[in-house]
């Protein structure tokens, strides 16, 4: 019987396997940032261990860094200590670091692909759950905890059991105006936040093939919100074209493409589970609740707890509606928004900024809200500025910021106030995620832009 793509890549990376034990898996690329690494480097120091492969390791500053005044010392002393700790650790252990001000500083999952160090057939890990983003290139990429960060630093391997495999078949074509973000939100709403637990997802089908690399990254990025540590897409010509010309693209590109072209799920391979999604039927999607599975088409009304069958879901909906301050039956399009956040590892790439800029160009955002535009990396920021997008956003009344995770997780000063409501292109609408008491609706960049203009949740078609 044939193998799935995930099974092929996994098998190629097994250093050692033994009956009853987890596989020892080789790691091709380890991405590091300031928040989940300090205790791991401390562990190395305590035991006198080194970083085994600094040449397969790369670090950047993203989670807690400010997006204003980035060349001044970081104002928050605790954040500053964490960033300084990363800088010292990278220096001491010989790890490449892209710091604030550097063109390759930015959200770690935007930086890897733009440097060309994310390639098909790799195993990629990072102390961050959105590492699944890199699966868009046909890699097994997943988030790990700090103990595992230390393990990878010391050994370049991980001890892990191979997850089961789940195919997400997206048939048909997405309608114009329906984006990768709407697709993944609809998938999560369908299979639930725990639906992917224990699986690697493989996104397949016509609608997936049609997506750009940026769109594929958006889809794979949110695999974790469906409970799956990893999600991937078989590489194709779009993947190869994206990598070509990047700083770390293979020198022997033809041989690399020959290898990458072997990376697909065999026709006779069997997935443990298959899920069918009708791509034609999808519409712009938005979350109404406090987990990413609590989403609906934008044209729907706020649900009522009684709409759900299980008691657990009813209680969860009741809690969510209370936290979100929403009344069942209200059209989602009438929900008033205070802040629009455009950015993050989900939707902070150049294509996302272009899509939103197209919509706000020559118009003004509603006077009742603020809009933050935070490019995913300094390189994305510079590219956008060379295309004049910074001016488009500024003229519309939005704030143009420096790169970082920013309001996606509210670890730096970019936060929602208590009761403030956002339309956010990020990945998590958890209670307090964007600031204590803040309320988050997850949306695509296009919906974010249209919402900014109208002041209520809106799609470009409503303009």
């Amino acid at each position: 019987m044939g193998k799935t793509l995930a099974e092929k890549i996994w098998a190629e990376h097994i250093v050692r396997s033994a009956e009853g034990e987890p596989d020892l898996l080789y790691i091709d690329l380890h991405l590091i940032h300031e928040v989940t690494s300090p205790q791991a480097f401390d562990g190395l120091r305590l035991t006198g261990r080194k970083v085994r492969r600094p040449d397969l390791t790369i670090a950047t500053e993203d989670h807690n860094v400010p997006t204003l005044d980035i060349l001044k010392p970081i104002a928050d002393p605790v954040s500053k200590l964490q960033v300084d700790t990363l800088r010292n650790n990278c220096k001491e252990f010989g790890v490449r670091l892209h710091s604030l001000g550097d063109v390759d500083q930015g959200v770690v999952h935007v930086v890897g692909p733009q440097l060309g160090v994310t390639q098909p057939g790799m195993t990629i890990v990072c102390g961050d759950s959105h590492t699944s983003t890199h699966g868009a290139f046909g890699a097994i990429a997943f988030g790990i905890g700090t103990s595992e960060v230390e393990h990878v630093l010391a050994t370049q391997t991980l001890s892990s059991r191979r997850p089961k495999t789940m195919a997400i078949n997206v048939n048909g074509k997405l309608k114009p105006g329906v984006t990768a973000k709407d697709l993944i939100l609809a998938i999560i709403a369908k299979i639930g936040t725990g639906g992917g637990q224990g699986y690697i997802l493989e996104y397949r089908g016509e609608a997936i093939r049609e997506l750009s690399m940026e769109g594929r990254m958006t889809v794979c990025n949110m695999s974790i919100e469906a409970g799956a540590r990893a999600g991937l897409i078989a590489p194709d010509q779009k993947t190869f074209d994206y990598i070509k010309g990047k700083p770390h693209a293979p020198e022997d590109f033809e041989s690399a493409v020959a290898y990458w072209s072997t990376l697909f799920t065999d026709a006779d391979a069997k997935f443990d589970v298959e899920v069918e999604i009708d791509g034609d039927a999808l519409e712009p999607f938005v979350t109404w609740g406090t987990n990413p599975g609590q989403g609906l088409p934008l044209s729907a009304n706020v649900p009522s707890p009684s709409d759900f069958s299980s008691e657990t879901d009813q209680v969860a909906a009741k809690n969510a509606l209370e936290y979100m301050g929403l009344t069942p039956g209200t059209p989602l399009k009438e929900v008033k928004i205070d802040t629009v956040f455009l950015g993050s590892c989900t939707n902070g790439r150049i294509e996302d900024l272009r899509a939103a800029a197209d919509i706000v160009k020559g118009k003004k955002i509603a006077s009742t809200l603020r809009m933050l535009v935070v490019p995913g990396s300094e390189r994305v920021r510079q590219q956008a500025m060379s295309e004049g997008l910074d001016k488009v956003f500024a003229d519309a009344g939005a704030e143009w910021r420096n790169a970082g995770c920013s309001m996606c997780l509210g670890m730096n000063p970019d936060q929602l106030a208590v009761g403030e409501r956002s339309a956010s292109t990020s990945n998590r609408n958890f209670e307090g995620r964007q600031g204590k008491g803040g309320r988050t609706h997850l949306v695509s960049p296009q919906v974010a832009a249209a919402t900014a203009l109208r002041g209520t949740l809106s799609s470009p078609a409503d303009l």
Binding site: V15, R16, G20, P22, L24, Y26, D28, L29, V35, T36, P38, Q39, R49, P54, D55, L56, N64, V78, L81, Q82, T85, R96, Q119, M122, G127, D128, S129, T131, I144, G145, S147, E150, H151, A154, T155, Q156, T157, S159, R161, G194, Q197, G227, R229, P247, H248, P250, A256, Y259, N291, T312, V315, A316, L409, G410, M411, R428, F430, E431, K436, G437
Partner: protein, 199 residues
Amino acid sequence: MEKFISHTGTGVPLRRSNVDTDQIIPAVYLKRVTRSGFEDGLFSAWRSDPEFVLNQEAFKKGTVLVAGPDFGTGSSREHAVWALQNYGFKAVISSRFADIFRGNSLKGGLLTVIIPQDEVEKLWAKIESEPTTEITVDLDSRTVTYADVSLNFELDDYTRWRLMEGLDDIGLTLAQSDSIDAFESKRSTLKPATLPIRA
């Protein structure tokens, strides 16, 4: 790592599903560079509510958290495990855990125990009516026992052995250095490297 063989303590009922890692510990608490002191951030948004279970006198000394399904969803932050441990929890019982959280907990010596949701409901009812009920989580026999109830739970032999011996994974892997060397000697030269830096 400290050995985990068996633990007996009282329970804390957390009647919520999808308790994500931002609820367990919000990002603003993740700026520390140590492994300790995270207990102040544990469930911080809920702890301002005097009715929250951790603020109720009857549950203040609990060491076994009993939570709703899909506990630990979201971020990979191991700080969530540290916060629970720093606060004093030794075990978490739920019908479903998120993968990364469960991996982190078992690497770090916080025992996560899976029992069916109907058994979680019964356990909630018991500890809510009698908060002094002692719960024993025993790794040797792979059972949870309280009052006259005894439930088996699954945990693979390897993880159980590692926890009972208090072994850390890095030491175990470094004993396999020859296998890693051998793998690297055959590794494809097509794979990218981050050094030397190419512009």
